[in-house]
Symmetry: T
Subunit: 144 residues, 12 copies
């Protein structure tokens, strides 16, 4: 069975608690359960990982080369600044989809630019936890 990495960046472990008017009330555990379930329907094993550490996110992307056919990645606050994560996405040969819970284009100016998006296949934002689900649908279309 093919596997997909769902990778959550910094502060996403606080989901459901942190600014719920912006990020929704579901916890990360609840989201992960839904994504694993949806993955099964689409024929994929979904494995989820969260870290607040930029370096661990890079490590996770690099390791995914050996076991995953694609990545759904919410880089959180690192989206707007991290060249190192962008390079990691570009360095691995499997497709990466960038997702955001909120519509980053409707927020502060510095959130409107993603350093990581240019290295990804595509980008999805503004649908709350459904952004991840759409990312899985998109990956399923890309991977024959």
């Amino acid at each position: 069975m093919r596997s997909i990495l769902v990778l959550h960046g910094p502060n996403l472990n606080l989901l459901g608690e942190r600014e719920p008017e912006t990020y929704g009330r579901m916890t990360l555990t609840e989201i992960d359960a839904k994504l694993i379930e949806l993955g099964k329907q689409l024929g994929f094993e979904v494995r989820c990982r969260q870290s607040n550490h930029e370096g661990e996110l890079i490590d996770a992307l690099q390791e995914a080369r050996s076991w995953a056919v694609g990545v759904v990645f919410n880089p959180g606050g690192y989206s707007h600044t991290s060249v190192a994560l962008r390079d990691a996405v570009a360095a691995i040969s499997i497709p990466v989809i960038e997702v955001h819970l909120s519509n980053i284009h409707a927020r502060e100016k510095f959130r409107r630019r993603s350093m990581i998006a240019p290295a990804c296949v595509g980008s999805i934002c503004g649908f709350g936890w459904t952004s991840y689900a759409l990312g899985l649908y998109g990956l399923a279309e890309l991977i024959p």
Copy 2:
């Protein structure tokens, strides 16, 4: 049965012919047929419209207030400049999803900013015609 407008902006009528390495080889007619089919599966009537005229796109968005429950909108080249389209999206009370065939963040600098995205619910790019399909999935989640 609830209806959804799929609105295509300038030059998208040339799909399949225009720069296929960037925009893919499917024609707009083929994409529309697929979206109508997908809409049926999701329980929506999908109506498709294309125009090269900014004013006609505004008219279409305004008219959709009376018959549609949501819009999947590819503003094409108007994405990066049109305040008038942004105002039209903000002025109507139904949700609008912005979609792009290509990953606009990986292209020329002026394509990386969408004037229209901040007024939309969410934004999807980079999946070829599947961007539209993901937009329909996303709308289906938003509309109870």
Copy 3:
């Protein structure tokens, strides 16, 4: 009797319905009626026109050369981007007054610059529908 064109740009046909906390609750029909009445008091025939199409607005400005002594123009979202409308204002020899319902200087940054204002005689914003009325007063002073 001398005539004045009141020209409304994109989305102004939704007035009274669209974001009333920003644009007020009067409809465009009501505003036009008030302006025609005020025009009569000032000794002018007022003719009103609205379009969502940039090209039609240019056409209307060009045609006004032959029948109007002045124009009160709310370019709406085209204010901030349209060189073509600016050129049309500069190309006709009759005075044009730019008006806006809201105080554009207190809104998003991109709304603070009008491409069209430099080609107009003057500019008025922030008074709701009264901005148009002040525009008529101003034209009445300019036209002997």
Copy 4:
């Protein structure tokens, strides 16, 4: 009887003498007389004040809280730089209208941005002394 402050900023005491091709040939005394007369017609006592001192303009705005129902303010050269005047306008609860004799949008780039306009109700420019008159008309509409 309700009172209105007409406040003139720096160098406006030279009106009629200073660059008449830009600012017109009427003196400030003549303009003030016309505004007092117009105020009477509209049912307001108009009191006029001019100063070249930024601090005195702030003082005048603050004092107007106690006796005026509104202000028509031409901040002159301080328009483009003064945060302190903007704060004074924001700090008093009566409405302030910004006016300019010339069309500031058609002049040097640094004159196109007003620091003070965002704190005002509205802004009028380009009508010569009539800009002040339109400001009075506008205030009359705002104050019930």
Copy 5:
């Protein structure tokens, strides 16, 4: 006989009347006659079209694919803002030459950048109506 489209953008229908010190005193009809004549000398049928509507200009460029071997295009005020026209030029496989009557590099700063030029074969400005003629000569060299 091979055909060429000469396409005129917004406000060019006013030529001879509009700001003659900048744009010259010949009317568009006179220019078109001269270009048709020159086309004959070079062995081309020249067809001329003018529109103030961005969408109609896009339509015209798209339609030219089926009957023309090249386009001489003066985008007027749309030159500086229109991504949609740029995309239309890039989408059609026939060569397009951008021309301007005035030297746009010697005018306002916003006129110095053409959004459309990068998608064209070449660009000519500053020669009055002769800019069009040079465009025809240039096309004649490009088309074997």
Copy 6:
């Protein structure tokens, strides 16, 4: 007994009245009384002065050379624009602490830069009237 100048810039005389949600409900007189009391505890005579006039603030800083060992300075709206006040701070040999009631980094972009801070020893913002108190504590540490 050593003396300290507490210097308040423009519009701070309105404290308690002006935008209390931003600046708090204490009046300037109340704040001054608290600072004089705190000064006594720290072994300093505190003298307070407010002016809306940039020139008077410069005068006050210059005069403080002869009687004060330090200054706690809230430059208000002049913070963001005044080179002359910065030069005055740099010209006098006694330490100056910049304070702000609100967190200027969380407000409009133009408030985030202080022209005066680089010439001060340090800067404190965001604590309401306590910002002044922290400034006194800080001065007490600096002055042996």
Copy 7:
């Protein structure tokens, strides 16, 4: 007894050794001892932590939710770039005070902007180790 986290960012473990003309000669251990002592006087338990790892600083802020009533935070070099730390500060409900040893406004241009300050209650810089002490005083005032 209520507790406060004092959090030191990258390179602050070198204090006393690193560029003493800029950062002073006290070691971090000495500063921590002084802050713990001052905390006792103010009625707080002060716990100190230092890390060079952005992710560990985010972890520490998140964990502080469960045991601290406030944070005094010197983000060091991460101040100017880290959206992830800003999000962590915004995500936790306890007040955070930003402090810097040096006057960051008097240093290189890139140090003058803090990405983190807008999410904090207030900001203090320029007092050497006393900046931390003032931060504790400020927190003591904020926490009833």
Copy 8:
């Protein structure tokens, strides 16, 4: 006998005391005495005035219209920000020479631009008090 105004801006009253390595060790009184003496040699009465108040500097420039044939003006810190002083220079018909003691082009970036220079006849900087003397020589050449 013809008269010349030498006008000194903010903080120049501290000359000889303030940052002597930048501004020299001569006091303003000594400089004024030298300029009065030099004026006599050149056939002019020289009157000197200093103020820290922007408004008083504007007043002084306006009054000089009635008694002076030219002005040598060191606007100090107001040079870089004051549109109001620039307007005053432009409003009076006598020639104004801008002078600076230090070479403003070799200092902080914000000192490199003078808002006032474009309205002056010429500009001199970097010669210490001799800048004023060269200004008098220059005026003497300009005034027949």
Copy 9:
């Protein structure tokens, strides 16, 4: 017989050898021969000169005042930086046409701005060696 200077800037002596995919395969000698021939047809003596030295190009433009009725000038890499060449073009009274082999608007950003174009009559780019030929045609139209 009237004469025209064709002036080639730096590195154009390498034509045919240097990056032929950008600049074409014809050598400068071949181009010059074609231009001399075309000149004859148009009734002009064409003299060609190339230099890598900015100063020699200025000298050549200045000398052309005495013998040429116009100049076709390819400033090469100096186009984007040379104020001195721009001043030379402005200083001589004969018309100068700027030409480029490649479409400079489709290349690196710094090549899109010509410092010299504003001082020329017109500008032509993108036609390979034909750019020069069009420049001669254009000059022939300008010179009666």
Copy 10:
């Protein structure tokens, strides 16, 4: 024997695999072996370390104070954003040489600026693995 730290930043562990057309086909292990060998020839013990974690790179630089006489550092993607790494380089007293495999000046705009270079002794880029070798040669010259 004196020791040198060779420090590799994020994603360099993928060398040989990651985008070989940009970064070459040698693995990091092969490069390290060559550098250890070259170090021996130059009389230095070379120790190599790689990490994807910004914090670990800071730790490694700090620890090198106690055992190394110099550092050859390839900060990878952190080069362009990390103030914390720059501060670490500035905080340690041993010389640090920045190296890059590719010519960063010929790549994306954001890669052209290194935040870390100003704190280093020197910078070398574009020579593939030889950049490291040149860094060792350079250190050998610097260390007596």
Copy 11:
């Protein structure tokens, strides 16, 4: 007898002929004669040199080290772009005064910044040929 170099940059050889409304009607030969005469009065031998070549201007500055006590330099169009000339001025130990005929601050934006001024002792502009004379007076004061 001490000697001074008066160095004229590009296009100044055309003085009297080139744009006399901007640069005056005196020829360079006439100006040089006046400066030589004035030099004699001040006790200096004045030698004048003009070149259109940046390299020759650098050579001339370098050679002046061996025979001149100071330089009066009008860099013309190279003022705004030449780092090489700035370095030459900084490299020689004798004082250099920058002069301009016109008021460069009142012209195009790119002329307002001089790259060379920061390396000079002082700068004078706007007095026509008298700018050179003031430069000689200024040098005479600087050189004991």
Copy 12:
């Protein structure tokens, strides 16, 4: 025997005399001798050339095509502005290494960008004369 050009740009002939704290105390003659010696060790004939003239540097690069296998080039002040030199480097097929004596990234902002680096193979700065030596080592590796 293969030959290498070492090319020195403007003001480098003053080495040893010019600002020795920045550029070191060795003269250019001494550096050239060392490089010729090092070249011999590496199996290359090294020929050195210096010029203050941008055009001569272009000529030298072009001529090197016929006799050299590579170039070590210090463009001095032309590094930051010269498109013409960049084009020359790109136009010749032999590898060029850019070197600088000082660390240009630690100096004025305008020195941090090299226009020439993107056309070179690699870039080395900050090692004093050793920068040239490292350039020779690097060339030796590149040339088989």
